[in-house]
């Protein structure tokens, strides 16, 4: 314990000393750690951050549902379902392959360009960004689900079938609950990525936290506002990560308590 503490202090000290004695420290501090600008730009950035939260919350729900659908479709056995499996494979390949920013550009600026409707929702860059993020992240999350489904031992499904459950009932009541529990950590990975990718909506107009920080940066010629935006993103991520740790721990305790079955 004492050794760990001592070595942490030494490492921190070395890092701080290197930073502080570097030739550009004063300039760095003025341009990246400006206290006054931090507090003056924080309110507007926090207000803009609500858009990130809104996009993230809606997308997350849609992703969980869509991805599960794609993963199930991809796991359908038998040659008769081959076209459906193929479609699912193409979907995951395409939307994992194309950079997310391109998908947002093409949907948020491209679909309204078709001028199919005058409605406000049709022209809304926020709506199409949510669609874009959902499409992209469902591709990733579907693969995570698929890994979870495949990790459940086939004897589970065999046992369920032998008890008289249909394929779908076996999937719904036996396989999926186990599969989803197993993949909660990688699912969280993807959602933390999603939180940060909500910043992409800014390319089509709406001002979210990162864009607001960018506006403050170019108005003041100072990079400190990015620090504000970063801290806000962290404020969202860290509790989520700790909550997930708690979920996993609770699940593990139940698993062990029931005799490891």
């Amino acid at each position: 314990m004492a050794t760990a503490l001592a070595s942490t202090v030494v490492v921190l000290t070395v890092l701080v000393v290197i930073a502080v004695t570097s030739p550009g420290w004063d300039e760095f501090r003025a341009k990246f750690l400006d206290g006054d600008l931090f507090w003056t730009s924080l309110p507007e950035i926090a207000r803009a951050f609500r858009l990130n939260v809104k996009i993230f919350s809606i997308s997350e729900v849609l992703i969980l549902i869509l991805a599960l659908g794609i993963a199930v479709l991809r796991s359908l056995p038998g040659p008769v379902f081959f076209p459906i499996r193929l479609l699912a494979i193409i979907y995951t390949d395409v939307f994992r392959g194309i950079p997310t920013i391109l998908v947002v550009y093409m949907l948020a600026l491209g679909i309204p360009a078709l001028l199919l409707s005058d409605a406000n929702w049709y022209r809304s860059a926020v709506v199409w960004s949510i669609v874009a993020l959902t499409l992209v992240y469902s591709a990733y999350v579907a693969e995570v689900y698929r890994a979870g489904i495949q990790s459940v031992h086939p004897s589970q499904e065999a046992a369920a079938r032998s008890l008289g459950l249909s394929r779908w009932q076996a999937l719904r009541f036996v396989v999926l609950p186990q599969a989803v529990r197993r993949v909660i950590p990688p699912l969280l990975n993807d959602f933390i990525g999603l939180q940060k990718d909500t910043a992409l909506v800014a390319i089509a107009g709406p001002v979210e936290a990162f864009r607001q920080a960018q506006i403050a940066e170019s108005a003041n010629f100072n990079f400190t506002p990015y620090l504000c935006a970063s801290l806000l993103f962290l404020l969202l991520t860290i509790p989520l990560a700790r909550f997930t740790d708690w979920l996993i721990e609770r699940d593990r305790r139940r698993f062990l308590a029931s005799g490891g079955s």
Binding site: D26, P112, I215
Partner: protein, 296 residues
């Protein structure tokens, strides 16, 4: 416990030292006060013997005109080597004042936002509709004005916003502007719209949003507005020219901070203004047949 407290004290002391350290000294540039500091042979150039001028890529009409060439390729792009267009002609006029022939001028492409960031430059001076702001002047030298600009609102023909005749009438609409531009600042300060101003990385993205009906009006400088409304849009119109906020906006050329050439460029611009060349260039290349109304 004691170990932890001691460690905390050490870290805290170091942090306090970091925050308390005073600013470093800045070396003042050695200035030449020779009367002919602006003579061609005395200029400190990025590449000796030639004048390196920077501009953005793409280089748009009416600032740069003529065919594409060199790195300036693609539709809507124009080769600065053409010596056609308002900024192109101004740049070559300044080059001539400084004593350079056309063959001695080289062009480099530099993104707009990078031109005025602090640091060494790969050009002798840069021009690409860079508006003077005190913040930009902190990181780079900005020359005197070579064009006093105004902002204008571009919209689609037949829309409600196109019928506005006063600044107050502009308030209820949705606006877009390129991020980090004075157009954005003017939109917020002069129009002060009810809904938040949408921002775009590039003018092309903003123009697409205008075409899609995602924004009602796009605020840009007047020459760009003219080009957008008459060339890029088939159904575009200029709603009007906005009143300039306190202190007129103008375009400045960008040079490296502390560059000895800044005074020379300013001298050249003063000479061009005095003998009417600047006005001639503006007439020829920015000669707008249709006057856009001034809004109040």
């Amino acid at each position: 416990m004691r170990m932890r407290a001691f460690a905390m004290a050490v870290v805290a002391a170091l942090a306090a030292a970091a925050c308390g350290s005073s600013g470093g000294s800045t070396a003042s540039p050695a200035g030449t006060t020779a009367a002919n500091a602006c003579a061609k042979s005395n200029l400190t150039l990025v590449t000796p013997g030639q004048l390196t001028i920077g501009t953005d890529n793409p280089a748009f009409d009416p600032f740069f005109q003529g065919p594409t060439g060199h790195e300036w390729t693609g539709q809507f792009n124009h080769d600065p080597y053409n010596d056609q267009g308002f900024e192109d002609a101004t740049a070559y006029a300044v080059a001539q004042q400084l004593g350079f022939t056309k063959d001695q001028v080289q062009w480099v492409a530099v993104p707009f936002n990078n031109s005025y960031k602090p640091g060494p430059k790969n050009f002798d001076f840069y021009l690409a509709q860079v508006s003077y702001t005190p913040q930009r002047a902190e990181g780079a030298d900005l020359s005197d004005s070579y064009y006093d600009e105004q902002e204008a609102v571009v919209a689609l023909q037949g829309t409600d916003i196109s019928k506005a005749t006063s600044v107050a009438a502009l308030k209820p609409f949705t606006y877009g502007a390129q991020i980090g531009t004075t157009s954005y600042d003017v939109t917020k300060s002069v129009i002060n719209p009810d809904s938040s101003v949408q921002t775009f990385n590039t003018l092309n993205a903003a123009l697409q949003a205008l075409k899609n009906g995602q924004i009602d009006g796009l605020v840009v400088d007047y020459p760009t507005a003219y080009y957008m409304a008459n060339v890029q849009l088939s159904n575009g119109t200029i709603v009007g020219v906005l009143p300039a906020p306190a202190g007129k906006e103008h375009f400045s050329m960008v040079l490296e901070k502390g560059s000895p050439m800044t005074a020379c460029v300013n001298g050249a611009l003063a000479a061009l203004r005095a003998d009417g060349t600047l006005a001639q260039i503006q007439d020829r290349w920015l000669n707008q047949a249709a006057n856009a109304p001034a809004l109040h």
